[in-house]
C-alpha cells in the first residue's frame, strides 16, 4: 500500500479553528428566546424525600417553570441500559438499576436531581434554586464497597435483597491444580480509589424544538451522538429523522461523556418541547464533581502461583467493583479489569471472580483506562513482589513470562468487555521491552548511575513496566466519502470528536486513497444529520473502527473514480494515477482530468446515464471487527524522591508503544502525553475523598489536585509497528495507553527509589502524605 500520507507527521487540520477560538462548543450555541436550566441537587447521599415545595421558586420573577418528578408524570422513567443484555457467562448475576431524570422518592447519591428550574437567565434560575424547600429523611449511608456487601448493610435499592449489582466468574485452565504444583504462592490485597476525569469542558446540552416542523435539534457534549439521537427519538415519541443530535467540538471526553442517558440528557430536550423554547444547561464544575460519572474504586484479593524460576502458573483474583448508585453501563469496567489482570503474560490458569456493589456514590462508568489500569496495577504489583520474593530481577521475571511473538493470536478463553472472546491478535512484546530498556539505559542506570546516586544519599529509582490495552471493539462504525463538485472531499462519520485529531488522521486515510491534500478532506463528525449510523467514541476505537470504515469508503470511491476516469480518458484503470486532485494516465501526464470535473461528470444535469448507474463519486462503508485488536507498550520512569517531603521529580519518562500501523505520530504522541498526565494524576495527585457518609470532601480544584504542566516530565515516545491482522489498515487503538500502566509504574519506581525503606505499595492513588505514612510504617515494622 502507498504510504505517502498514513504514518506522516501531518499537522492538525482542526488546530487553526481551535487555536483562534473559531471552534464551536455547546456553550457557544445561543439561540433567540433561549431559556436556561439549573438543577436542584440533593446534598444527602441517601435520604427519603418527605416533601418538596417549589412554590416560592415558581413565583420568583424571571422563572419560567419548575419541574419535579411529579410534574413530569409518566415521562419520568429511567434511562435505557447502555450495554445490554448482560454477558451470557454461566451463572452471571446482573441487577440493572438506572438513573431517572428527576428523583421522586429516594435519593441514592449526593448530586441527584430533585427539581429543575428554567428561567430567563442562569442567574435567575440559580437564585430560584435557593427558594426550593425539601424535607429529607436521612438514611444510613452505604459508602464503603466492602461493607456494602455485608449482610446487615443498608440498601441502596430497597427492592433488592442486597447491594449486589452483579456477580461473574471467569476461568481459564485449572487454577487449583496450578496452585498445588507451585513452588511459591503469593497473596496480596490491593485497593484502588476513585478519581474524576476532570475534562476541561464540563457537560452541556442545548435543545431546540421547532413546533412547526416537529423537529428537535440537540447540541450535546456526548461521545455518542447517534445513540443519543436514537434514544431521544424513542423516548420522546419522535421519528429518528426528526431528531438531530450534534456533538460539536468537545473539550475532552475521557469516557464519562460516553455515559448515557444522563438525567440532564433526558430532561433538557423534554423541557424544550414542553416549553416550546430553546433550553440550555451547562454543567458547572461543582456539579461535575457529583453528577458526571467517575471511576476506579475496586478492592482486589489476589493470589499467584509461581515456579521457583519465576514462571507464572496461575492467578486467582477476587475483586469488588464499585458501580455507585446505579449501573447503566453494565459490566464494561470490571470485565476490562478481568481482561487485563493477566497483562501481557502467558498465563495458563486463571480464575477471576468479581462482585459489583451498589453504593451511595456517583455512578461509575468507564473513564480513560476503564478498568484496565486496575488489572495492570494488580498483575504488575504482583510481578514486582514475586521478583523480590524469588530473587529474580524485575525485568527478567517479566521477560520470562511475556507472550512470545509466535503465540499470536493468543486466545484466553474468556470474554472481554464487548462479550467477544479475549484474543490478543498480534504483538512482539519482548521487542518493545528491549527497545524501552535501551532507550532508558536500564543496565547502565542500575549498574553505574544508581549506585552513584545512592552513594550521594539521593534516592533515585527506576521503573520499567509492560502493559496491554484491549482496543477497537465493535460493534461497528461507518463513513461516507464524497468527491464534491469543487474537487474537495467531504467525509462524514457518526463518531464524535473530543480532541483526538479525527479531522486529520481520518483525512490522511482518505487522502491517501484519493490522491488529494490532507487539507482538502473535510471531515464532519458527530452530527446525526450528516451520518445516520454509529455507536460512539470510546474504548480506543476511533482509529481502528471508524478509521477502517474511512479506508473502506475511500477505497470504494477510488474505484468509482478510476472506472469513470478510465472511460473519460480512454485508458485502462491500471494505468491511471490519482495525484494532486487529478487523475492522470501514468505515461501521458497531459492526459488527465481533475476530480472536480470528474465529479461533475458523475452527476450530470441533463443527458442519459446507463441503467443501474449511481450518481456521484460517493461511497458509504462500515467496519465492525469480530473482536478488537490488542496494543502493547512499555513505560519506564526514572524519578527522584525526597524522603522528608515525599516530593518527586521525574528525571526520565520513556514510552514505547506498539499500536500497529501509525496513522500520524504527532497525534499518537499527543494521545500518549495526555494519557501519561492522567496516569500520573491517578498515581500521585488525584483522589476523590468521600467521608463515611459518602459526602465528597474535595469537590473543587482548590482541593482536587490535577497534574499541572510544571509537574509533567518530558516524555520520550518510541514506536514499534506490529500490524493488526484484523483490519485493512493494521491499526490498534492507543487512546488509553498513556494512562494504563502509570500507577503501577509509579509504585515500582518509588519502591526502588526508597530502597532502604523496605516499601511495598498496595494502594493507589498515593500522595506525598500517604506515601510518607506507608514508608514510615513499613520502616518501623
Amino acid at each position: 500500500m502507498d504510504k505517502r500520507l498514513i504514518g506522516k507527521r501531518v499537522v492538525r487540520n482542526e488546530d487553526p479553528r481551535l487555536l483562534t477560538g473559531q471552534a464551536q462548543y455547546v456553550d457557544d450555541v445561543n439561540l433567540p428566546n433561549m431559556a436556561h436550566a439549573a438543577m436542584f441537587r440533593s446534598e444527602y447521599a441517601h435520604a427519603r424525600i418527605r416533601s418538596i415545595d417549589v412554590s416560592k421558586a415558581r413565583a420568583h420573577s424571571g422563572v419560567i417553570a419548575v419541574y419535579t418528578a411529579e410534574d413530569m408524570g409518566a415521562d419520568c422513567y429511567p434511562g435505557p441500559p447502555l450495554v445490554s443484555p448482560p454477558p451470557t457467562v454461566k451463572d452471571v448475576i446482573f441487577n440493572s438499576r438506572r438513573q431517572v431524570p428527576l428523583v421522586k422518592d429516594k435519593i441514592r447519591h449526593a448530586g441527584e436531581i430533585i427539581a429543575v428550574v428554567i428561567a430567563e437567565t442562569r442567574y435567575i434560575a440559580e437564585d430560584a434554586l435557593d427558594l426550593i424547600e425539601i424535607e429529607y429523611e436521612p438514611l444510613p449511608v452505604v459508602a464503603d464497597i466492602e461493607k456494602a456487601l455485608e449482610p446487615n448493610s443498608p440498601l441502596v435499592h430497597d427492592d433488592l435483597d442486597s447491594n449486589l449489582a452483579a456477580h461473574l466468574v471467569q476461568k481459564k485452565g485449572d487454577y487449583e491444580s496450578a496452585r498445588a504444583s507451585a513452588d511459591v504462592i503469593i497473596q496480596r490485597r490491593f485497593t484502588i480509589e476513585r478519581g474524576t476525569a476532570a475534562a476541561m469542558e464540563n457537560r452541556g446540552i442545548v435543545a431546540q424544538w421547532d413546533a412547526k416542523s416537529e423537529a428537535l435539534t440537540v447540541w450535546d457534549t456526548t461521545q455518542a451522538p447517534i445513540p443519543i439521537r436514537n434514544g431521544l427519538a424513542a423516548r420522546l415519541g419522535l421519528s429518528e429523522s426528526k431528531v438531530r443530535v450534534i456533538a460539536p467540538f468537545i473539550g475532552g471526553g475521557f469516557g464519562p461523556k460516553i455515559m448515557m442517558f444522563y438525567s440532564e440528557e433526558m430532561l433538557v430536550p423534554w423541557l424544550a418541547i414542553k416549553l416550546n423554547r430553546p433550553v440550555k444547561w451547562i454543567e458547572d464544575r461543582r456539579e461535575n464533581f457529583y453528577a458526571t460519572t467517575q471511576e476506579r474504586g475496586q478492592v482486589h484479593e489476589v493470589e499467584m502461583a509461581f515456579t521457583r524460576d519465576g514462571k507464572i502458573l496461575g492467578i486467582k483474583d477476587d475483586f469488588i467493583h464499585d458501580t455507585g448508585a446505579y449501573d447503566p453501563y453494565g459490566l464494561t469496567t470490571p470485565l476490562n479489569t478481568q481482561s487485563h489482570v493477566m497483562g501481557g503474560y502467558d498465563i495458563p490458569n486463571f480464575t477471576s471472580e468479581f462482585r459489583v456493589a451498589f453504593t451511595n456514590k456517583t455512578i461509575v462508568t468507564p473513564m480513560r483506562g476503564a478498568g484496565r489500569p486496575h488489572g495492570i496495577y494488580v498483575i504488575e504489583r504482583m510481578m514486582d513482589i514475586a521478583a523480590k520474593e524469588l530473587g529474580i530481577d524485575r525485568v527478567e521475571i517479566r521477560r520470562r513470562n511475556l507472550i512470545k511473538p509466535d503465540a499470536f493470536p493468543y486466545e484466553h478463553g474468556i470474554i472481554d468487555q464487548a462479550f467477544a472472546p479475549l484474543i490478543f491478535d498480534s504483538g512482539n512484546y519482548e521487542a518493545v521491552l528491549n527497545e524501552t530498556l535501551k532507550a532508558v539505559g536500564y543496565e547502565k542506570f542500575i549498574k553505574e548511575e544508581q549506585p552513584r546516586y545512592r552513594a550521594e544519599g539521593r534516592r533515585v529509582g527506576i521503573g520499567v513496566l509492560p502493559f496491554i490495552e484491549t482496543t477497537g471493539v465493535g460493534p461497528y462504525e461507518g463513513a461516507r466519502v464524497t468527491v464534491e463538485a469543487s474537487g474537495k472531499i467531504a467525509v462524514a462519520t457518526g463518531v464524535g470528536t473530543q480532541g483526538q485529531g479525527h479531522f486529520t488522521s481520518f483525512a490522511q486515510v482518505v487522502a491517501e486513497q484519493l490522491g488529494v491534500d490532507v487539507t482538502d478532506v473535510r471531515i464532519t463528525t458527530g452530527d446525526s444529520a450528516h451520518f445516520n449510523w454509529g455507536t460512539g467514541t470510546f474504548a480506543s476505537r476511533g482509529a481502528v473502527v471508524a478509521g477502517n470504515a474511512m479506508h473502506a469508503a475511500a477505497t470504494m470511491v477510488r474505484k468509482k473514480i478510476l472506472k469513470l476516469a478510465s472511460k473519460v480518458l480512454n485508458a485502462p484503470e491500471e494505468e491511471l494515477e490519482l495525484e494532486d486532485g487529478m487523475v492522470r494516465v501514468a505515461d501521458i501526464p497531459q492526459s488527465s482530468i481533475s476530480l472536480s470535473d470528474l465529479a461533475a461528470l458523475a452527476n450530470p444535469l441533463r443527458g442519459a446515464v446507463e441503467p443501474g448507474t449511481e450518481p456521484g463519486l460517493e461511497a458509504t462503508a462500515y467496519y465492525g471487527p469480530q473482536y478488537g485488536p490488542t496494543a502493547f507498550g512499555v513505560h519506564a520512569m526514572i524519578a527522584e524522591i525526597d524522603p522528608e517531603t515525599m516530593m518527586i521529580k521525574i528525571l526520565r519518562y520513556v514510552v514505547t508503544e506498539d499500536c500497529g500501523t501509525i496513522l500520524n505520530p504527532l497525534i499518537l504522541e499527543g494521545q500518549i502525553h495526555g494519557g501519561v498526565a492522567l496516569g500520573l494524576g491517578n498515581a500521585y495527585y488525584e483522589k476523590l475523598h468521600f467521608d463515611e457518609n459518602a459526602q465528597l470532601l474535595n469537590a473543587s480544584f482548590m482541593d482536587y489536585l490535577l497534574v499541572g504542566s510544571t509537574e509533567m516530565p518530558r516524555i520520550e515516545v518510541h514506536h514499534l509497528e506490529t500490524r493488526s491482522p484484523l483490519n485493512e489498515l493494521g491499526t490498534k487503538g492507543v487512546g488509553e495507553a498513556g494512562a494504563i500502566p502509570v500507577p503501577a509504574l509509579f509504585a515500582q519506581t518509588m519502591e526502588d527509589a526508597l530502597y532502604d525503606y523496605n516499601l511495598e505499595i498496595r494502594e493507589t492513588p498515593l500522595n506525598p502524605n500517604r506515601l510518607f505514612e506507608i514508608a514510615r510504617k513499613e520502616k518501623t515494622a
Binding site: 444527602y44 447521599a45 461543582r286 457529583y290 459526602q695 470532601l697 469537590a699 473543587s700 482541593d703
Partner: protein, 149 residues
C-alpha cells in the same frame, strides 16, 4: 468530623451554667446568630449566618439539650440546614470548678456535614468552627465578668 476543646471561664460554675442556659445570652454570644426561639426548656430553634470560605448562608437549626446534670454537664444534639449545606451533630459539655472562682468547660462532639459546607468547605470547616466557638465563649466570658462587676 470531630470537634473538641476546652475553655476557662472567669466565674463560678453556677453563673456560667445560668448564662449557657439563657437563650437571650446565647443569641448574643454565638457569632452570626439572628434569632433564637425557645420551644421548651430543653429545645431551641434559631437561625445563624455562617461563612465558610467562599460560601455564606443562613443555617436554620435546632438544639436539643438532654442528659442535663446542672450545673455540671449536658448533651447537645444539633441539626442545621441551609442553602450551603447541612450539619448534624452531637456534643457533650462538662464543667468543673477551678480554684479562684473559675470554671473549666470541656466540650467534645462529632458532626456530620454535607452539601457545599462539606464539598468545598471541609478544609476550612474545622478552623471556622473552632474560631466561632472561641469567639462565642469569649463573649460569654465577657458577660460573666460584667455580671460579676
Amino acid at each position: 468530623m470531630k470537634l473538641s476543646g476546652e475553655y476557662v471561664f472567669d466565674g463560678p460554675r453556677e453563673e456560667v451554667w445560668k448564662l449557657v442556659r439563657d437563650p437571650e445570652v446565647l443569641m448574643k454570644c454565638m457569632p452570626g446568630t439572628q434569632t433564637v426561639n425557645k420551644i421548651s426548656d430543653s429545645e431551641f430553634t434559631g437561625e445563624v449566618t455562617v461563612r465558610i470560605g467562599p460560601f455564606a448562608g443562613v443555617f436554620a437549626g435546632r438544639v436539643i439539650i438532654s442528659d442535663e446534670v446542672p450545673p455540671q454537664s449536658c448533651t447537645l444534639t444539633i441539626e442545621g440546614t441551609g442553602k450551603i449545606g447541612f450539619l448534624q451533630g452531637v456534643g457533650a459539655i462538662e464543667m468543673t470548678e477551678l480554684e479562684g472562682q473559675k470554671t473549666l468547660m470541656k466540650y467534645s462532639g462529632e458532626a456530620q456535614i454535607g452539601g457545599k459546607v462539606a464539598s468545598v468547605g471541609q478544609r476550612l470547616f474545622d478552623t471556622v468552627s473552632k474560631s466561632m466557638m472561641k469567639q462565642g465563649l469569649d463573649t460569654l466570658n465577657g458577660f460573666l465578668k460584667s455580671n460579676a462587676a
